[in-house]
């Protein structure tokens, strides 16, 4: 393993994050605060408890997931797309760095950043609603797995995109609906039967459900199913990245 190489990539990516730390943190924190004001205080006060959990506390895991997904995708996709766009990718390709090592560096940094943001949002939430984490280890596991999986997904988008528009299109067209329909703000059991079934094809449902279970043991699906689906999606992303590197897709052709 080229540990120095992985560290070089990771450190370079993190340096970019810390250079713009203010911007990186301000926007997710502000949007979370807005969600709490609107959904937690204004609307939430008129909504009944969900399975014995106040609505404000119910949406905390969903909001963290929402930021975690979007941040992971945007960090990782931009991280790999920008060197492709600026041409500096040549150095990564010419260096004795394997596909796995590149992924560890880029995806590792993107996941670190989004976990960092996720934790900041968790801390911010504590100012608005009292909540408690029933299974901290499970919470940490879901946080980690989701950050890695969606950073990998972002990495794939960053490799696939051949323009800044495409870099935006997947998060906008696919991820926003998936997250909003993924049970971040409501339990999917309240949906009509048809939409309930449709929701089960949405991977985000499993992430949010598992993550929420780790907080207050309220879940749409069994936590084991959540974990299995998360791992499945992780494996799928890994396989796609591996295929891209093996064939040189958009990199070496």
């Amino acid at each position: 393993m080229n540990w120095y190489g992985i560290w070089a990539i990771y450190r370079y990516e993190m340096a970019r994050f810390f250079r713009t730390l203010g911007q990186s943190l301000v926007s997710p924190v502000i949007s979370t605060v807005l969600y709490f004001v609107v959904f937690g205080a204004a609307i939430g006060s008129r909504i009944q408890d969900v399975s014995g959990v106040s609505y404000g506390a119910f949406i905390v895991p969903g909001l963290i997931m929402l930021s975690l997904l979007t941040q992971s995708i945007s960090n990782a996709s931009f991280g790999i797309y920008f060197p492709r766009f600026s041409g500096t990718i040549y150095e990564y390709l010419a260096a004795p760095v394997s596909a796995l090592e590149m992924v560890l560096g880029f995806v590792g940094a993107a996941a670190t950043k989004s976990i960092f943001i996720g934790l900041v949002i968790l801390a911010t939430s504590a100012f608005f609603v009292p909540f408690h984490v029933a299974h901290p280890l499970w919470m940490a596991l879901f946080l980690l797995l989701t950050a890695i999986t969606f950073s990998l997904f972002g990495f794939i988008i960053g490799l696939w995109a051949d323009g800044f528009e495409k870099l935006q299109i997947i998060p906008l067209l696919i991820m926003t609906p998936l997250t909003f329909l993924g049970g971040s703000f409501y339990p999917i059991s309240i949906l009509p039967p048809f939409w309930h079934t449709v929701s089960l094809f949405n991977p985000v449902v499993y992430l949010v459900s598992g993550f929420r279970w780790s907080f207050n043991e309220v879940a749409d699906v069994h936590v084991g199913v959540s974990l299995a689906m998360t791992l499945f999606f992780l494996g799928l992303c890994l396989a796609i990245v591996q295929w891209m590197f093996n064939t040189g897709y958009r990199l070496k052709n």
Binding site: N2, Y4, G5, Y90
Partner: protein, 306 residues
């Protein structure tokens, strides 16, 4: 001389359908400076990108120091440094940071003393804390060279090193290239400036339309293909060339004011002395004479036009 890079039957057809290389064979000798000449789009950059691992080849094999550049990529890539044609740099970074990054990326532990030596050699040391965006184009190119040398490669590829570089910097860069060669580094440069190849290279390869037309020792190439020309400035202009002299292959030029004798450096049909004797026998007096030798540029144009 042992070859450090051995390219066999390498071809490349891009996904777009463009065939950039057609079965290229090339041996690069250890410690030499090889110049790859060719017009734009000839396949020079594709060839070096394949050796460096940036582009996948369609067929063929590349051995670097005896190792396959795909299956043993970790070994071969450590041996190679690449200076790309375009100024691909992270402009927000500082010179020192980007050079350190390059060394680490290649799996080497820090060696600040070595990096300091390189930056001084390239006259970049004073700029080490400057952001890359504040540097001039020439300075940026030096940063690229410093990055390529950061992991102590034994082979250095320079893709069009003097594109858009002023004369002074070009001379400066050639000095650096020669100094590197003196330390045993093998250097491959692509260029379409013929004088660069003429000045620097030990051997010259010519690529055109994806084919390697020839690879020769520079002097041998110039001997073999170079034309020499003797021009005699006549005291009295001639209206017509005397028949006796036509047999020597002489031609009239400049409205009869000059006589021109063209010959191959090696296979002159007649010695210079014979030609001069014939002139004297024909009672043709000349006031001055000059000889010219064809440059690599002439040779190159001749090859590419074929």
């Amino acid at each position: 001389m042992p070859s450090i890079i051995s390219i066999r039957g390498v071809s490349k057809t891009y996904a777009s359908g463009l065939t950039a290389l057609k079965s290229v064979n090339l041996d690069i000798h250890q410690g030499e400076i090889l110049a790859l000449l060719g017009p734009n789009g000839a396949g020079k950059t594709t060839l070096i990108s394949i050796v460096c691992g940036i582009v996948n080849k369609s067929t063929g094999s590349v051995l670097v120091d005896g190792h396959d550049n795909v299956s043993d990529y970790r070994i071969t890539r450590r041996l190679i440094g690449l200076v790309p044609q375009e100024l691909h740099l992270s402009i927000f970074e500082k010179v020192w940071d980007t050079v350190r990054f390059s060394r680490q990326l290649y799996g080497k532990p820090h060696d600040d003393a070595y990096l300091e030596k390189i930056l001084k050699q390239l006259s970049l040391w004073e700029k080490k804390d400057a952001k890359i965006m504040t540097l001039s184009g020439g300075m940026k190119r030096r940063v690229l060279i410093a990055k390529a040398l950061a992991h102590e490669p034994r082979i250095l590829f320079l893709d069009e090193p003097s594109a858009g570089v002023d004369v002074e910097l070009r001379q400066d860069m050639w000095r650096v290239v020669r100094a590197l060669r003196d330390t045993g580094v093998t250097i491959i440069l692509t260029t379409h400036y013929i004088e660069e190849a003429e000045d620097l290279a030990d051997r010259v390869g010519v690529i055109n339309k994806g084919e390697l037309i020839l690879v020769e020792d520079k002097h041998a190439l110039m001997d073999k293909l170079g034309q020499k020309q003797l021009t005699l400035e006549l005291l009295k202009p001639l209206a017509k060339l005397p028949r006796k002299l036509a047999a020597y292959g002489l031609e009239l030029a400049a409205q009869g004011k000059e006589l021109v004798y063209r010959y191959d450096a090696r296979n002159a049909r007649h010695s210079m002395a014979e030609v001069l004797q014939a002139l004297s026998a024909a009672k043709i007096a000349f006031g001055d004479l000059r000889t010219e030798q064809s440059t690599l540029e002439d040779i190159f144009m001749g090859l590419v036009k074929r």
